[in-house]
């Protein structure tokens, strides 16, 4: 019964993602092309809240931190391949999942690609390559997955404090100078119709992450939010006919339903079919995302929203690889041409 909390957390997460249009890929494009740092600010808020929240809960022994492994080459290569997949799909995994809720069939196709790539790398033909790459370059510190704390030999709270100061400084620096005139609106309109602010979106995601950690741990999976991890058992269950539900399994349909509700009420839902070319690109891009995520021990949600707040070195490296790849690809795709 506790695994049902996965569905409920999914509902909340999907709702917030859609209300805030929290897609990290489109957020990076907005920043690069228009100096619009909306999603970057929301991400910083989410990581700030989750970082303090997770460490507080760990100190109070409500949860035990569980950072992902640092796989060296696999974390970097997997992250970069994941990033490449993102540029084809035009969204991150959170974006892919919540866009399904807006009626875009192309993102359902991307989701199938993600599941196929993920399952292939987790248990299929890519598994031997993955294990070879992961096992040969895995880095551990004192028999545990490395964190900034174990790497630098500092009490984690010192790092939490330093990072919190840096995040707050960044949030102040990225403040929009010209305050956009906020339209007169009812509470209902602000909640369901108008785009949520970066702060509201980020703080809500951070809190949902904290709830996720407690709920998922109670259901036997000691980790906060993830997404690709949920696609894999869903595909497997359809292929094998054996439907074993889990917290992560139920998170995904929760996100999709939460997104659908949010999109519908905001007038952002419409069934849209892709053309054949787009469908193929979505499948391939999704496959790269799913496969890359399993090589790197996680997708962008697992690393950025859940791993970095735990000060996981693997998540920091994977996060840099993912968004470094996206930045480089988008720079050569768009920015250089724009300048000429």
């Amino acid at each position: 019964m506790i695994i049902l909390s996965g569905f409920i957390v999914g509902l909340l997460f999907g709702f917030v993602l859609t209300r805030g249009y929290f897609c990290q890929f489109s957020g990076l494009s907005d920043a690069l092309m228009f100096k619009n740092f909306r999603i970057i600010k929301a991400t910083i808020w989410a990581v700030l809240i989750a970082m303090i929240g997770f460490h507080l809960m760990a100190s109070l022994e409500i949860i035990t931190l569980n950072p992902k492994p640092f796989f060296g080459a696999a974390s970097i290569i997997g992250g970069a391949v994941f990033g490449l997949g993102m540029t084809l799909v035009g969204a991150c995994v959170g974006g892919t999942t919540f866009k399904m809720g807006t009626g875009l069939i192309s993102y359902f196709i991307a989701g199938i690609g993600i599941a196929l790539g993920g399952l292939s790398a987790a248990e299929g033909f890519l598994k031997p390559i993955r294990l070879a790459l992961q096992d040969t370059t895995k880095v551990m510190i004192k028999g545990a997955n490395p964190t900034l704390s174990s790497l630098l030999g500092l009490n984690p709270w010192i790092l939490v404090l330093i990072l919190a100061v840096i995040f707050i400084w960044l949030l102040l620096k990225l403040r929009t100078e010209e305050k956009e005139p906020r339209p007169e609106a009812t509470f209902f309109a602000r909640l369901f119709k108008l785009r949520w602010s970066p702060a509201l979106t980020g703080v809500a995601i951070g809190i949902i992450g904290m709830i996720a950690f407690v709920a998922s741990a109670a259901a036997g999976r000691n980790y906060p939010l993830g997404i690709v991890e949920g696609y894999i058992p869903i595909l497997k269950s359809f292929l094998t006919g054996s439907f074993t539900l889990s917290w992560m399994y139920l998170l995904i349909p929760g996100i999709i339903l939460g997104s659908t509700i949010a999109a519908f009420v905001a007038g952002e839902f419409r069934w849209r079919l892709p053309n054949w070319k787009t469908a193929v690109i979505m499948l391939i891009g999704g496959f790269l995302m799913g496969g890359g995520a399993v090589f790197a021990a996680g997708c962008n949600v697992t690393h950025i929203l859940s791993g970095i707040p735990q000060l996981s070195v693997g998540s920091i490296v994977s996060g840099i690889a993912i968004f470094g790849a996206v930045y480089l690809i988008d720079y050569f795709r768009f920015i250089r041409k724009k300048q000429s």
């Binding site: 907005d30 228009f34 619009n36 192309s106 785009r195 839902f269 787009t278 988008d330």
Partner: protein, 82 residues
């Protein structure tokens, strides 16, 4: 009598992010002079929320008037004129 400005329609529905924004900027660069002189108006139809959020801000910064009309569920028309 002044001739009415020519409306250039750009439909970017269904484009994969970030192409809705790229395609709009490309079109703008194509018709830049006529747009700035008021001879032409650019009407962009999109289903991509970041477009109706970023394009108005960007073109207002360039000195254009921008109106956004909701045409239906997940469908917006962005009208850019001098």
């Amino acid at each position: 009598m002044e001739t009415k400005p020519e409306i250039i329609k750009l439909n970017i529905e269904g484009e994969i992010c970030p192409y809705p924004l790229i395609t709009t900027i490309k079109k703008y660069q194509e018709i830049k002079e006529n747009l700035e002189s008021g001879k032409r108006i650019l009407e962009v139809t999109t289903d991509h929320p970041p477009a109706y959020e970023n394009i108005p801000r960007e073109f207002r910064k360039k000195g254009f008037q921008v109106e956004v009309e909701k045409m239906g569920p997940a469908k917006w028309k962005i009208i850019i004129k001098k």
